[in-house]
């Protein structure tokens, strides 16, 4: 194990055993997003109208409400996984940590707003 180059300092240390976490999350949430996104698209296309009453009636029903809660969670999770990789690829200085934390805050805040809205709709607020 050398102490010169970056690769020299880590060579021989083995795997950190946590590197594949976000990679795997990105794939699994991507697959889940495929399902719920197509569900939303086809549901919207099959609605007789997109006026307030019709859309609200549809989204308040148990199955669409459940699917839309999953839609919000899955897609905010997937967006967070993907944008995390984008930040890690382009942001190498001390700003990286700031952007990663800001991304986490934004993802959780957006997801919370979406889920709360759907709960209020489902409970008829």
């Amino acid at each position: 194990m050398g102490n010169g180059t970056s690769i020299g300092r880590v060579r021989g240390l083995g795997s950190a055993h946590s590197g594949a976490g976000n990679w795997l999350q990105e794939r699994v949430t991507g697959l889940a997003s495929l399902i719920v996104s197509l569900y939303l698209l086809f549901s919207l296309l099959m609605l007789p109208s997109w006026n307030y009453q019709t859309v609200r009636g549809w989204i308040s029903a148990p199955v669409p409400a459940t699917a839309m809660v999953l839609f919000v969670i899955v897609n905010f999770w997937h967006a967070r996984s993907g944008l995390r990789v984008v930040i890690e690829d382009y942001q190498h200085d001390s700003g990286k940590l700031f952007y990663l934390v800001a991304l986490d805050f934004a993802a959780f805040a957006g997801g919370a707003f979406g889920v709360l809205s759907l709960i209020r709709l489902a409970l008829g607020a």
Binding site: L34, L41, R56, M68, V86, H92, G114, S117, L118
Partner: protein, 134 residues
């Protein structure tokens, strides 16, 4: 990144980037996957939250949302999101195939890359044909 803190790290040779490589279909769809994913995350999820928030707020807020989305700019955004969705979906499926180690032969890779572009345009056209026929 640890190396950025080392003295002289800035002078290390960099691997060639976009301006060096000759453009090919695989490179294009790889970039499109990232661009459409970022667009869907930043614009698509914002539209989603506005839509849900407007539904909760009531008929007036929903009318405002529907009015903006029905305006020329709103329609450009929605068509753009539709295309980004299908492109990201197609290239995402391509990535699943690449992840299992298949499809790296030059010709196969180029062919499926082009297919994702053609498919996303056709699916976008099909989606909006369904919408306009309503």
């Amino acid at each position: 990144m640890a190396s950025a803190n080392q003295p002289g790290a800035r002078n290390r040779p960099l691997s060639p980037h976009l301006q060096i490589w000759r453009w090919g279909p695989a490179m294009l769809v790889s970039i499109l996957h990232r661009v459409t994913g970022s667009g869907l995350s930043l614009v698509g999820l914002a539209v989603l939250l506005w839509w849900l928030g407007a539904l909760v707020s009531g008929a007036a807020a929903y009318a405002t949302f529907a009015g903006v989305m029905g305006s020329p700019i709103g329609l450009v955004v929605l068509v753009g999101l539709t295309w980004a969705f299908w492109q990201h979906l197609c290239t995402g499926l391509r990535h699943f195939v690449l992840d299992i180690g298949a499809g790296y032969e030059l010709e196969t890779n180029a062919r499926w890359s082009i297919i994702t572009i053609v498919a996303s345009v056709l699916l976008t056209a099909g989606t909006w044909a369904c919408i306009l026929a309503r």
